[in-house]
């Protein structure tokens, strides 16, 4: 299982090299998005005020404080992705996001968009906000400030990771593969516990 140290923006070639189970760290730009950010974008038709093309987007509602004109980090953590499945194919297809970062994975619609447009899902270690916050060097911009803590954030990050490639651009879905593997084990587990189906 390979370890990749990348810098944003991500190209199709870079994404092509990533396979499920690989570990990724990266430097550069990271956008923060959440449920409300995407409801605002997709359901209420607001165009993002900057280009997201080639960039990674993380599912987060960060704790920040505003000092003068600048935003400072307090705590940046990651939330469960499945709630945002509905928006993800379009985020990849229309806006060119190359990596969605979150926990728990996404579903088939996103997997297809990842194959079609060369993108990946990178799984973060849930609960590890202390580490993520350390790796955020700066909060460069907060767009749509009125939506905070579910606005659109532009972070600069260094050595962001470890992230596990959970879904790749070759059609593989690690969460589903692991789940299927467990499903095959269930009859034996039931038997061992004396469970009658």
């Amino acid at each position: 299982m390979a370890v990749h140290n990348l810098t944003t923006p991500f190209t199709d070639e870079m994404i092509h090299e990533l396979h499920v189970g690989d570990t990724v760290y990266f430097d550069g730009t990271l956008f923060g998005i959440r449920d409300l950010t995407q409801i605002y974008m997709f359901d209420q038709n607001h165009e993002p005020p900057c280009s997201l093309a080639g960039m990674p987007a993380i599912h987060t509602a960060p704790s920040l404080k505003k000092v003068g004109d600048r935003w400072e980090k307090i705590c940046v953590g990651t939330t469960t992705s499945t709630r945002m499945e509905r928006f993800s194919p379009e985020l990849i297809g229309t806006y060119g996001v190359k990596a969605i970062i979150g926990k728990g994975g996404l579903y088939n619609g996103s997997l297809q968009a990842m194959q079609q447009h060369k993108a990946v899902y990178l799984a973060i270690v849930g609960g590890s906000a202390a580490l993520e916050t350390l790796q955020v060097e700066e909060v460069e911009e907060v767009y749509w400030e009125h939506l905070h803590p579910e606005a659109l954030y532009k972070f600069r990050v260094k050595g962001f990771g470890p992230l596990t490639v959970g879904m790749d651009s070759h059609g593989r879905h690690l969460f589903e593969e692991v789940k299927e593997n467990t499903r095959r084990k269930l009859p034996d587990i039931y038997e061992k516990l004396g469970i009658v189906e």
Partner: protein, 293 residues
């Protein structure tokens, strides 16, 4: 006896909330290390390393381990000789939780269930959750603070089985729940199980199960054996840390039980994530406060 200073309860309520969020209990740290030693999957081992690094960063900076500061739960043990005024304790716990949120400061997660308006206090109608029990021959008030995040709490399940379904249906319910919830409760954590009681009591038992220190077994050998059996079964599922595959899917299975109705066979599951956060304070009538896990 001099009058008890209820300000101590407020301070302890605030302090335990902050401590719980930043400082992981020793038994959980040790359980994670033991789990790492047993883990062979390379992806899973990377995840464990990130977990250890996170704990280290939080220790060094006294920062939040996880951004989800949860809903505050206070579990009280009230000594029989403790001079207590329940209403005053409730008020002080509420103020302490609010002060922790606003003075640290961290994100408040409590919200109105219909309007979804968040007061940024971590409290509100019905919050904090306060459970209490009474302890014989003690002059102390023990406060166990549990900040419960939603990633794991959202995976809670309960079911009222029939007596005819037997114990085997309870075991199947546990296995199927772990299978279905997969990556969502940030495994490997603690799987808390309540068996018996009423619909409300069974979930409270499951909550009590997640706060038992990892490594302690139920005092009843029959229940302890069931804990071990389920733990072994779950750790043979290969779901692994964060549901990405690996040997370790849970750090521990804990079961708490209560007598139930002759026609009932209830079970509840309350999962706890790997940052199994909790903090304890013991307050004595002379004003001493002892902090621990």
């Amino acid at each position: 006896m001099t009058e008890f200073d209820y300000q101590l309860v407020e301070e302890a309520a605030k302090e335990t909330y902050i401590r719980a969020l930043c400082d992981l209990p020793t038994d959980v740290r040790e359980a994670l290390k033991r789990a790492y030693d047993k883990e062979t999957n390379p992806t899973a081992r990377e995840i464990f390393k990130a977990i250890f690094r996170t704990i280290e960063v939080a220790d060094q900076g006294k920062t939040l381990i996880c951004q989800d500061t949860g809903l505050p739960i206070y579990m009280l043990k009230i000594g029989s000789k403790f001079p207590w005024n329940g209403y005053e304790i409730k008020t002080r716990l509420t103020t302490g939780a609010k002060r922790a949120t606003q003075e640290f400061p961290f994100r408040g997660s409590s919200t109105h269930p219909l309007t979804r308006i968040n007061p940024q206090t971590s409290v509100g109608e019905g919050l904090p959750v306060i459970h209490y029990d009474f302890v014989e021959d003690s002059d102390c008030l023990e406060i166990l603070m549990v900040p419960k995040g939603s990633g794991s709490e959202n995976m809670s399940k309960m079911k009222m089985f029939y007596p005819a379904d037997g114990v085997s249906s309870l075991k199947k319910f546990v296995i199927d729940t772990v299978f279905e919830t997969g990556a969502n409760p940030c495994p490997p954590g603690i799987i808390g199980i309540g068996i018996g009681g009423t619909a409300d009591l069974v979930m409270k038992l499951a909550k009590e199960a997640i706060v038992r220190p990892v490594g302690e077994r139920h005092h009843d050998p029959q229940i302890a054996a069931m804990e071990e059996e389920l733990e072994e079964a779950i750790n043979s599922m290969d779901r692994g840390p964060m549901g990405l595959g690996g040997k370790i899917t849970t750090l521990a299975v804990h079961i708490e039980t209560a007598y139930t109705h002759i026609t009932q066979n209830p079970i509840a599951i309350n999962t706890q994530c790997w940052p199994a956060r909790r903090s304890r304070a013991r307050i004595y009538p002379d004003g001493r406060i002892e902090y621990g896990y």
